[in-house]
């Protein structure tokens, strides 16, 4: 088979080669660069959309957070005021209860005191009576004779009273 010269110029071959390069340029442009660039643009758009979405979500979250914070602080205040009023109420009630209890106790003590006083007086009366009886009996035995009980009793009573007075003064 024939070979061409190592260095030969052929205008047709030059034109063919020129057109070859042009055709390959078009192939690259239409089949490689156009689709790849389209995909890259799509991806860029996708990323931008994602970023926008994220930004929106962040904003709404911020808003919700602010809302919650406001609500929370309001609730805090409310709770504080509720506690305050409750405390005041409880204080009042306790004061009232304590006061009434004190009064009651005082009443009881007073009653007890008067009761004791009465008892004491009663006992004193009883003892005096007994002593009078006994001493009258004793004197009857001693004198071996009936004395006027009534006179005698008056006498002894006055005597015991004197002793009691002396005792009170010394004590």
């Amino acid at each position: 088979m024939q070979s061409s010269e190592v260095i030969s110029i052929n205008i047709w071959q030059i034109i063919i080669s020129l057109l070859n390069l042009l055709i390959l340029f078009l192939i690259f442009k239409k089949l490689l660069f156009a689709p790849v660039k389209k995909v890259l643009a799509d991806r860029q758009k996708l990323i931008d959309d994602k970023f926008d979405d994220a930004e929106k979500a962040r904003q709404s979250a911020d808003e919700a957070k602010k809302n919650y914070e406001a609500k929370l602080s309001a609730a805090d205040d409310e709770a504080q005021s509720i506690i305050k009023t409750a405390k005041a109420k409880a204080q009042k009630k306790s004061n009232k209860i304590v006061g009434s209890a004190k009064e009651k106790a005082d009443d009881i003590i007073r009653q007890a005191k008067t009761d004791a006083e009465l008892e004491k007086k009663k006992a004193q009366g009883d003892v005096r009576h007994e002593i009078t009886e006994v001493s009258a009996l004793l004197a009857e035995k001693l004198l071996e004779r009936e004395i006027n009980t009534a006179d005698h009793r008056n006498y002894i009573d006055s005597f015991i009273d004197k002793i009691g007075e002396n005792n009170d003064a010394s004590s």
Binding site: I16, L32, D42
Partner: protein
């Protein structure tokens, strides 16, 4: 990641086959049409057939360089289809990453070297690189590299020259003609020569590098054959014929001349294209002109 459907896989396989089959076809053509060569020769592309043109015009021989160029174009077409098959914005595959890498790197290179005005040149630069690199790399599978044919590279250089001139003409033919008298009018002849030297130098640089690689490879192979014969020639039988020096050494040369030089020349050609087009374009004057036009309209 979702499982791919059967039809997707079949299309994948078909596209890959479309990428690989042109090379297989090229090898078949080479084997079927190539007569067993007599020794080593340095020759141009094989002529498959010749289209005869009317007399004043040259005949058109369809040679290996044209056929191999077409094979490369078909392969690259299917490669593009394969890379862009099943693109998705949400779930990029490894293949998509590769496609995006190619596109983004080329665009960065172009906008970095040429400015944003020329960002549309990215596919053109990618086409130059792809065509040149794949053409040169055809030597790896034993095919004739179209880039070692002057006509092929000259065609590209002419296209680049047309683009350079087109962008220089953007400010009108008067501005274009004036640019030759820059910086001093009597340098105009030199400017004109350098204008035409641009495509010529580009074409010859690329073609010369690839061709010289092939030539040196052939010469080294022949030389190694001679040396082996000298050393082992006295031995009897098969040992005397054993090509022990030809093992390995040509491969190292091939790494340099076929792979490194081929890719480097593709890159250089693309870089020069970008630089010549962007430096030739009088951007400031053009913007000035656009502004004047706008103010006139208003």
């Amino acid at each position: 990641m979702k499982e791919k459907s059967l039809s997707f896989r079949i299309a994948d396989v078909l596209l890959l086959a479309g990428f690989l089959l042109p090379f297989v076809f090229g090898i078949m053509l080479y084997i079927l049409l190539e007569p067993a060569s007599e020794g080593i020769e340095i020759a141009g592309a094989k002529i498959y057939f010749t289209l005869h043109m009317p007399m004043p015009m040259q005949d058109l021989p369809i040679t290996e360089s044209q056929v191999n160029s077409w094979l490369v174009i078909v392969a690259l077409l299917f490669l593009c289809l394969f890379l862009t098959h099943g693109l998705s914005a949400k779930h990029p595959t490894r293949r998509q990453h590769a496609a995006e890498w190619i596109v983004e790197k080329t665009e960065n290179l172009v906008s970095g070297n040429m400015g944003d005005y020329f960002s549309g040149f990215a596919p053109f630069v990618a086409a130059i690189m792809g065509l040149s690199a794949f053409s040169s790399l055809l030597t790896l599978i034993g095919l004739y590299p179209p880039t070692s044919d002057l006509n092929v590279v000259a065609g590209w250089a002419v296209l680049v020259f047309i683009l350079i001139t087109y962008y220089k003409m953007k400010c009108g033919p008067v501005h274009y003609l004036k640019s030759f008298g820059d910086p001093v009018p009597f340098l105009a002849p030199l400017n004109i020569i350098s204008e035409f030297a641009t495509p010529v130098s580009m074409a010859f640089r690329h073609y010369g590098n690839v061709l010289s690689g092939s030539v040196i490879s052939v010469l080294v192979a022949v030389g190694l054959q001679g040396v082996t014969h000298m050393i082992l020639g006295k031995l009897p039988g098969f040992l005397g014929q054993f090509p022990f020096l030809q093992i390995g050494i040509p491969a190292i040369l091939s790494i340099y001349f076929d792979i490194f030089s081929g890719c480097l020349q593709a890159f250089i050609f693309a870089m020069l294209t970008m630089l010549y087009i962007s430096t030739g374009f009088p951007e400031d004057d053009y913007k000035e002109k656009l502004r004047k036009k706008k103010s006139k309209q208003n």
